[in-house]
């Protein structure tokens, strides 16, 4: 079964470290100061904290078994890797049509308006544990 990052909303304190580290890990410099101060285009992140009253949690792509985003994708940019189960995004192909955004049942895909393309979690394919899980101080994100 595919890995996916699960949030535990009772433990999330809305600190947004996951957002900061996700963006840094996906920046050019991988340096938190440089990434946020100097980099253009700005670094993007595949995880977002939602908050309403006392409830908060960090949501990213759940790499669904029935990946409706990949079924809906008109360009072939989103595909479900049959071996790893990861919903893989190829930005070379994305045309920014936003069909996947309508298809994602969790609202886990966002627009990169600077590039007119989408942003989504890649499950940190270059790391053993996704950076958001690794840095969450309260174990509110688990693999």
């Amino acid at each position: 079964m595919v890995n996916r990052v699960r949030f535990r909303e009772d433990y999330c304190v809305d600190c947004r470290l996951c957002e900061v580290y996700c963006a840094t890990a996906h920046s050019q410099s991988k340096d938190v100061i440089k990434a946020f101060k100097d980099e253009r285009p700005s670094p993007t992140r595949g995880i977002s904290v939602q908050r309403r009253d006392a409830t908060s949690f960090a949501l990213n792509c759940q790499h669904c078994d029935e990946a409706r985003c990949a079924w809906a994708c008109v360009s072939g940019a989103l595909t479900k890797n049959p071996e790893t189960g990861v919903v893989t995004y190829n930005p070379e192909k994305c045309i920014g049509c936003w069909t996947c955004i309508l298809a994602c049942p969790n609202g886990a895909i966002t627009r990169d308006s600077e590039k007119s393309q989408i942003i989504k979690c890649d499950l940190c394919s270059d790391r053993e544990v996704p950076v958001c899980v690794a840095v969450c101080p309260n174990r509110a994100l688990v693999l």
């Binding site: 699960r6 909303e9 939602q50 908050r51 309403r52 409830t55 908060s56 949690f57 949501l59 759940q62 669904c64 078994d65 029935e66 409706r68 079924w71 809906a72 008109v74 360009s75 072939g76 070379e92 192909k93 045309i95 920014g96 049509c97 936003w98 069909t99 955004i101 309508l102 298809a103 994602c104 049942p105 969790n106 609202g107 895909i109 966002t110 627009r111 308006s113 007119s116």
Partner: protein, 442 residues
């Protein structure tokens, strides 16, 4: 004569969805695919990127990796047109006279551009815009100096063409729409007005409420386009006409066969036609629509892929019910982001609609019927459209939290916790979860 266990006619979203699904259920059964286009499957919506010069027709436009067909053991007949269906003999006849036999057949033949009846359609300079060859023809005409374009049709295809022309630059565009506003099929009057205003900013003239009555030859060269005349009598000089009115089901193969046809090919919830062993999907088929609770043609890419997927699973021996789709469209032209689905513009009195415009100009609207979401439209802030769509698809009673649907920051966090837990706990947003929700609601 070659005979296959599975034969697919059509090489776009539906056909590819079926190939992938067939191979999930049957890794070895012989499988062939026929298409009159001589190319690997490509992204039709990306022809707009091609025309604007953003990308070439290569890997970036192909829908799947170059080794897709080999990896899925698909025999390809590309550039081959099927001219006849022999249901008795279980064969198709190709244009060159060859026959291909099948045990299970999928008709994923898509649509043909609708061409309104008018004089002058045969003139040089009249183009369509649904295939890569169409885009290449327009590209060539522009390179030869076409500068004044009339786009016939103010829907998604017309906007896609207009957007590409604007991006390319150096072209004057007039868009002519028969209805009283552009994009009536994908947005309401408020949003249409926004798009039309934006088009005027971009110096596109938008003519609504009139049709193109005829295309006139150029005085310098009577074989070429010189102008169009509108139903109002106005004459608009131009050197290129893009007919972009939409598509109709491509039914030529099934006419005069026992396969039942309404507006499109009639299929059941398993995507099988009235002739056993013959399936259909995509723009040519009337698939189940969960909002209308009836079968109808909804010619959009995701429905074609999912329909093809269900057909493929069932052709390979499965018994999977199509859980239904409905109209859903996103709009991403002219720097406007918009998403709509279902009955976003109801006339009926039994529905209640609420809308809001926030200080950033974000326009949102939801439509409820009997306490359930049956349609919505988001403009500007569309990232959570999928959550609304799932509420609609699963027929979730939303009365208890309906005020939240339009709030800033709407998302999973706005849903009651038990619902959120149920959605995230089902191990992958699967059919079971959604179907159970749908049935429970009935």
């Amino acid at each position: 004569m070659a005979r296959y266990k599975y034969l697919i006619v059509g090489n776009s979203a539906g056909g590819i969805g079926a190939v992938e699904a067939i191979r999930e259920g049957d890794s070895q059964g012989s499988l062939a695919l026929v298409s009159d286009e001589p190319y690997p499957a490509y992204s039709r919506p990306a022809i707009s990127e091609f025309l604007m010069g953003e990308r070439d027709f290569d890997d970036r436009m192909y829908f799947r990796a170059p080794d897709f067909y080999d990896r899925h053991k698909v025999e390809r007949y590309l550039g081959a047109r099927v001219t006849q269906l022999d249901l008795e003999g279980r064969e198709v006849v190709l244009e060159n006279g060859d026959r291909l036999g099948w045990e299970r057949l999928l008709l994923a033949t898509g649509g043909v551009p609708i061409t309104p009846r008018m004089d002058g359609l045969e003139l040089n300079g009249v183009h369509r815009f649904t295939t890569i060859d169409h885009a290449r023809n327009i590209d060539a005409a522009l390179k030869q100096g076409a500068r004044r374009v009339v786009v016939v049709g103010g829907g998604l295809i017309g906007c896609s063409l207009t957007s590409a022309l604007i991006q390319r630059g150096g072209v004057e565009v007039v868009m002519v729409e028969l209805l009283d506003r552009a994009l009536a099929a994908v947005m309401d009057a408020t949003a249409s007005a926004m798009v039309e205003a934006r088009l005027r900013e971009l110096e596109v003239r938008v003519v609504t409420g009139h049709s193109v009555a005829g295309i006139l030859p150029a005085s310098s060269d009577p074989s070429r386009v010189g102008a169009v005349t509108l139903s109002s009598g106005e004459e608009i000089p131009c050197d290129l006409v893009g007919v972009a009115v939409g598509v109709a089901p491509r039914l030529e193969l099934v006419r005069e066969t026992p396969i039942e046809v309404n507006r499109g090919i009639v299929v059941d919830r398993y995507m099988e036609t009235t002739v056993p062993g013959v399936f259909a999907c995509g723009d040519v088929a009337e698939a189940y629509d969960f909002i209308y609770d009836s079968h109808r043609v909804v010619a959009i890419w995701p429905n074609a892929y999912i329909g093809g997927r269900i057909a493929g699973l069932n052709m390979a021996g499965g018994h999977h019910e199509y859980d239904g789709c409905t109209a859903m469209n996103s709009f991403s032209y002219f720097d406007i982001a918009l998403a709509s689905a279902g009955l976003f513009d109801p006339g009926a009195e039994d529905s209640v609609q609420t809308d809001t415009v926030n200080e950033n100009g974000v326009y949102k609207k939801v439509v409820l019927r009997e306490g359930r979401l049956v349609g919505f439209l988001l403009q500007g802030d569309i990232d959570q459209a999928g959550v609304l769509f799932r509420l609609m698809r699963d027929r979730v009673p939303v009365v208890d939290f309906q005020d939240r649907l339009l709030e800033d920051g709407f998302g999973l966090v706005s849903l009651p916790r038990p619902l959120r837990d149920a959605w995230l706990g089902d191990g992958g947003m699967g059919y079971e979860g959604s179907l159970a929700g749908g049935l429970a609601a009935k």
